[in-house]
Amino acid sequence: MSSSTTASRSLSRAGRRARGRSRGRSGSLPRHRGLIVGFLTLPIILYAVFVLSPYVQAIYISLTDWTGFARRLNFVGFENYTRVAHDDLFWTGLKHNLVMLAVLPVLTIGLGLFFASMLNIDRAGRGVRGSSAYKIVYFFPQVLPVAVIGVLWQFVYTPRSGLLNGLLGTHHAWLGSPDTALAAVLAVGVWSSVGFYVVLFSAAMGAIPQEIYEAVALDGAGRWRTFFQVTLPLLRDTVRVGLIYVSIGALDGFAIVQLMTVGPGGPDNATEVVGLTLYRRAFADGQFGYACAMGVVMLFMTLTLAVILQSRRREVGR
């Protein structure tokens, strides 16, 4: 946090100087400052325009009754937030997001670590045979757009003749039953993202000096012990970053739910997520102000989560 404020302070100073120079051609500024300003001005403006300003706008809209189409909007204070608090569908969605938050990070990071260690480490420091091919296979879902993933998995879950039912010899409607729908969606979430973490953790494992493993091997540590007492502690920072990514993703889940599920969000709201409720309120019902209030609530939840995970990282780092 502090380093970024320093950076922005020095940047604004540099900006002032740059402007001064263009007027007076003093040329007293060190050369690299001009370079920094040149490289940073455009990205920061783009960031402000396309990332920050929508947030500011959303907060503003959330305090109004804007329909999304109207040319006028009325300020309604915190009325939208009161409505969010009493919206059953919002709470149902939030509950499912929290389930995802509890399950997705554990599964995705756990599987990612398992696969990455299988690919990278044996006693001699090499991965299993053909590990580079596996890496590509694991990463493959990352290359697919989420729309393709959704359609693909619908075929897998097709009630009678689908791949999954074929394998299990059942006739179950995986997405059509409230008991299995959310789990079916979660499985797709894990499948589609685990490859990224395999690659991420593989890279981090590759950076661990080989000597450490040699020393550990000489001391007679087994694979499990090596993993839990050497590899994992050295990967801690990378794992934390991964956790933040997955957790933020778990608070979203909109795309897959919208693409795959009954309703969508069903059956019987079994897969409703906040993003879907928000989308419906904004686009189907013309209640942008209300939808923005939901969005702002989610923004602060996500920020809080990220801050909690970040601060824990710093403690551990110390």
Binding site: V56, R160, A173
Partner: protein
Amino acid sequence: MSPIDRRTLLLGLAGGTGLLLTGCAVPSGGRDSGSKAAPAVAGDDPKNPFGVKTSDRLDVVIFKGGFGDDYAKQVEETYKQAFPGAQVKHSGLQKLQETLQPRFVSGTPPDVIDNSGAAALNAVTLQKGGQLLDLKALLDAPSVDDPKVRVRDTLLPGVVESGTLGDTVASVNYAYTVTGFWYNQDLFEKNGWVYPKTWDELVALCAKIKASGIAPFTYQGKFPGYFLEPLMQMMAKTGGAETLAAVDNLEPGAWQSQPVADAVGAIEKLVKNGYILQGSEGLSHTEAQQAWVDGKAALIPCGSWLENEMKSTTPKGFRMAVGPTPAVTAQDKLPATAISASSSEGFIVPKDAKNTAGGLEFLRLLLSRSAASKFSELTGSMTTVKGAGANVTNSPALTSARKAVEAAGANTISFRFGGWYGDLYAAGSSAMGELLTGRVDAAEFMKRTQAAADKIAKDSNVVKYHR
């Protein structure tokens, strides 16, 4: 993007801060011109009742979905012939919402919009915001085919009402959709099956169908709202039109009456007897309809767009036919021939449009008999124009739908709560999905829908309508 957006963007860039951009997506409020002169209402010239000026460009946006947009292009040609030199801009779109939203906000909407499809603009919201032109002027204008007859009188019964919100005519629907149970005529003839007139006959038929190795029913599992249509049809028959009106008007206990119980109970019976294709609840609408085309199920609820929607995967010579829901009780208030017929494909004219006269004129031409017949020929669907397309015989589904409407006579059925109260429709669909999978029974279905209706009745944020 509109010029205003671009200008604010440049402003923001010059200022080096994003905060100035707060005006980008949100209206700034003061720009609203407010009192825009209404177009010349129904003048004397039957050739140009709205006073279209050739110099004004016409901007048409058509939802390019199941019906395509070729029919509209033909009308645009007619428009150009009527007003030589007039420029027409045509856009065939699917994502109306995201394309048109910035245009509405910046006050430069198109002159006429075919507001349909999954991403249609919320007409209730637009109407509430005073952003739609009242189409009464169009309805009272002389029709193209006979200047002595007003456009209003060339439309099928119920069409004007279905586009009316409060006391304004917000939209005019163009497609006429018949909804019932669809069956394959050849399959029925081959097996000696006859489309049933009473529910008991239907249940007996289902037993026969099941014995032959085919599932009697399937439905669009992921969108169980499809089965609300037959339910409404059955409710109207068991209890009369007032049963549906009570539901639409959110009357207390509307979902708990005996006629509703009879209708819901009849559907529950199909489920209990195992007459629904196993796994239907996991199928999308096209997957379910394909299962029906492939002969895995004998009956499916759907609207008359079915043939066009399944065109590419239906074998040649496949003869689809629609039937009304059979009579549930012996004392049904409406005859068994009564059928759900509603109009869709609603056209709107935005109030802020530059050339509203042109927009109205486009609709007047669209509602001519020749344009309507062309629509039926191109899409295999009926239009809301009386008697149009009677000569079109290239579609078995269209012929069957037309016959069904003729048989129904004055007894056509439609409900309104789906368009008025999105949340009630969603709750009804969800409950229907549970009913059709047997996870809830008829009583629980009625309890849930009643609770959803009561909630909306109490919600002061929802604008209420009445029929």
